[in-house]
């Protein structure tokens, strides 16, 4: 089974979650909420933190996977249907960040805007990540943490001195409607806590797990808010114009006159981490598809999904603005349902504990049958090969669990 550790989930929230919000989100939220962008963002983080807390409560109550919980509640077919819907959602939610990163990479990392071919290798990375499952998410989170810490602090160090934080005043001056629009239309950049629902049963619930994950989420949220505050402090009324904020926030340091844009090292490093985080929704989508098809070989769904994304990126090569408008201003309710409503409703799956127990009994029966079979196996071997029972027990053909059962 795909395993991910609590530490890796913590790093995912602390080091990778903020990055997707540092490219176009700052300008977008500035457009709606102006100097109150922090309030809009904080509203999203609080709502998401609450959902994360509920999901962590769920992990305390059960160690089953989300699929098993659904199966116990709605049966196998029902669970597969729900997973199918989530597979579609994850694929849907991955499109906007992929297009966003495409624009960022082509505009910032190259001197002239190159052809889309330069972005194509990304799908090799995502394909590989999709095949490998949750393990790669955890490992990239481990790798991302030191890179993020060094680069993010480096960027902030270079930019904080240039920011005039009084630009964030007056607080709550924007009309409530604009604040709410800032929050709702920013939803496509949120919904990270939904991952935990699918990590359910894939990580061991240790002591203080909930505290650790919530603390890491809070750390990621604070890092994002600090970035947003610095961004608005630097650009103020022209913040709406500053797309690709990650690459522009630190370019006013006077040291560049002699050193050049050393901040680009940090920008490149953070882009790399961000690209890895881009794989997560695609990996979750493949995970859901595999569950539907009874843990099929991941190569086929991964190939299909990445090929579809390659086609979509080519088709929407010049349509980012339309896609963003569609996602943010028309389809924000989809994020509201999948990232907030459904995870909250998943708590009700605990009500089906009776069924859960039935399932448990069913599994126990299966285990007992296996045990009996294992007990029978040595005697059969003994008969067939005419060897002592001790030697038969050491035979490699006997499974380990049966060995334990026999003893």
């Amino acid at each position: 089974m795909d395993k991910i550790s609590v530490r890796q989930i913590c790093f995912l929230f602390l080091a990778m979650m903020p990055l997707t919000k540092l490219i176009l989100y700052p300008a977008t939220v500035s457009y709606w909420s102006a100097n109150d962008l922090l309030l809009s963002a904080a509203l999203n983080f609080v709502a998401e933190g609450a959902i994360l807390a509920l999901l962590l409560l769920l992990t305390k109550k059960t160690e089953k996977t989300f699929f098993d919980l659904l199966r116990s509640a709605f049966g196998k077919i029902g669970a597969k249907i729900v997973y199918g819907i989530f597979a579609l959602y994850f694929a849907f939610s991955a499109l906007l960040p992929v297009l966003e990163h495409k624009g960022f990479v082509l505009q910032i990392l190259y001197e002239n805007v190159p052809s889309i071919l330069s972005f194509v290798p990304l799908f090799g990375v995502t394909f590989f990540a999709c095949i490998k499952g949750f393990k790669t998410i955890g490992r990239t989170a481990d790798l991302a943490m030191p890179i993020f810490l060094l680069s993010f602090l480096g960027l902030l160090f270079l930019s904080v001195m240039q920011a005039d934080y009084s630009a964030l005043l007056p607080i709550a001056a924007a009309p409530p409607k604009r604040l709410l629009q800032g929050s709702l239309f920013g939803l496509p950049w949120y919904g990270d806590s939904l991952c935990v629902l699918f990590f359910l049963g894939h990580f061991r619930n240790e002591k203080h797990t909930a505290k650790k994950i919530l603390f890491s989420f809070g750390g990621g949220a604070v890092a994002t808010l600090l970035f947003l505050a610095t961004f608005y402090g630097i650009y103020a009324d022209i913040a709406v114009k500053q797309q690709n904020a990650l690459a522009h926030i630190s370019k006013y340091t006077t040291a560049y006159t002699s050193l050049g844009r050393i901040d680009l090292f940090f920008v490149f490093a953070l882009t790399l981490v961000s690209i890895f985080y881009l794989c997560v929704p695609l990996q979750l989508s493949v995970h859901c598809v595999r569950k539907i098809f009874d843990d099929c070989n991941p190569v086929f769904p991964s190939a299909a999904l990445n090929l579809a994304f390659l086609v979509l990126v080519i088709v929407f090569n010049y349509s980012y603005l339309k896609i963003q408008t569609l996602y943010t201003q028309r389809l924000w309710w989809i994020y509201l349902i999948f990232c907030y409503a459904l995870p909250a409703l998943s708590l009700f799956l605990l009500l089906f504990r009776r069924k859960d127990k039935t399932l448990l009994r069913f599994e126990q029966t299966e285990e007992t049958e296996n045990k009996n079979a294992a007990e029978r196996a040595p005697s059969l071997l003994q008969k067939k090969m005419n060897v002592s029972p001790k030697r038969a027990q050491k035979s490699p053909s006997v499974p380990k669990n049966n060995e334990r059962g026999a003893s």
Binding site: E111, N112, S118, S166, P170, D237, K241
Partner: protein, 472 residues
Amino acid sequence: MNKFWTRVFLLATAFLLLLFFSNDFGLIDIQKTSIVTAIGIDTSEQEGKIDVTAQIAIPSAGGNSSAGNVTIPAVSTIGEAIAEFNRKTGWYPTLVHCRLVILSETCADNDVFGFLDYFLRSEFVEDSCLVAACRGRADELLAAQTPVGELTSSAITKVLSSEAQKTGLVCVTNLRDFAKGYFSVSESGYLPVLSIKQEAESSGPDSSSSPVFACDKSGPIEKNETTVRRAAPAAETGFSAQPARTRNNFDRLRAPSFFFSPGIQYLPFRRWRPNRNPLPVSTASQSQNGPSEQASSDKKADIFDAAQTLLFYRGRRVEILTEEETLAFNLADTATDFAYGDVSVVENGAKVTYNLKIKISKKSQKLTFPNGKPVFTFTIRAHANVNDADQAFDVQKIARTSIVPPQVLRAAEAKLQTQLSNILQKIQQTNCDLFEMKIKLKRFYPKRYQSLQNSIFSDVQIKYDIKFDTMH
């Protein structure tokens, strides 16, 4: 072994793909690339059109880089000029290294963001690039010859460097700051005014002639077709000294630069500046220009001055700050923390001018409403010591050079206060929110903003809390 070679093959393929996707194939041949280091914008003779001059550094594989100016006359937009530039010259202009945008004074009569918005839109022009206004025409300024033979744009960016800002010599503005002011509630901004202050005529190595100073120069240039010329040698560009035309418009805006205060009699607080008489530098050593320029025996070296500051309201120029006012503004508001200034006092019936080295230890401006009325307070704390004086003092006095006589300190305080008063008068007359009073009002007193936003400059009471002390 087969497995090993398969891995080698895969790694080699990955490496080659990396090269492929690095977009090296997408780059334009360096021989066809022109690196634009500065853009100058002038109003065209055709109404509603502009002339755009690009100063370009042309990289060469042989290492003999050259530089030149290309002017595209009578275009509607900057974007059109860039496209025209490519079409007519065959060079592909790269704006990534454009660090300077110069607007001529006639451009500043209209909303300058009609031109500058191109640079805001472009992802390839950094909005950290410097923006300046200039006397006369921008294309002439970019064609000036620098004393040490570097690119004109490079010499100008040194004049407008952050180091110059820190010493109060000039009010440096970049595109971001200028745009922030324009799009804020204050709708105001400022730009340093570049001018070719003097022209030092120097000769080649054999010549023994000393520098001859001329006044500002400018002159008509034919703009019937794309003009391509070398930047460095002014003599070759067909310039003639025409001082009157370019200076008049700015002089019209210029305020009196000295004052008298009751009590202490003192003379203008003159800015310290580098030696105005440049050394007769030989321009034959200019490595960036072609050999044809180097062969010329008589060269003219230009010195750039940006001591004055042009004020803008709603994108149009409205006033100009004199050198003293610029220094006072820098001391009170900007990143200047170290400056030199002259203060004259009357001692024993004789006028004595002290040159002070001033270190600003604290500066702030605060808008408050103590009695329901707006009060704007300047707080400045500075330490000074005597750098020089125009009289011969005894050795003991020279030894105690760090001790500034109290009357000199008071004179410096009064001088700074008077200059700030002059600036505030200009602000009242023009609505240029140089000290961001409207922004402060909106940020810190949003409830009063609606009622005071149009009358803040007339209603506000100014308080000065300026203290100079001896630097110990």
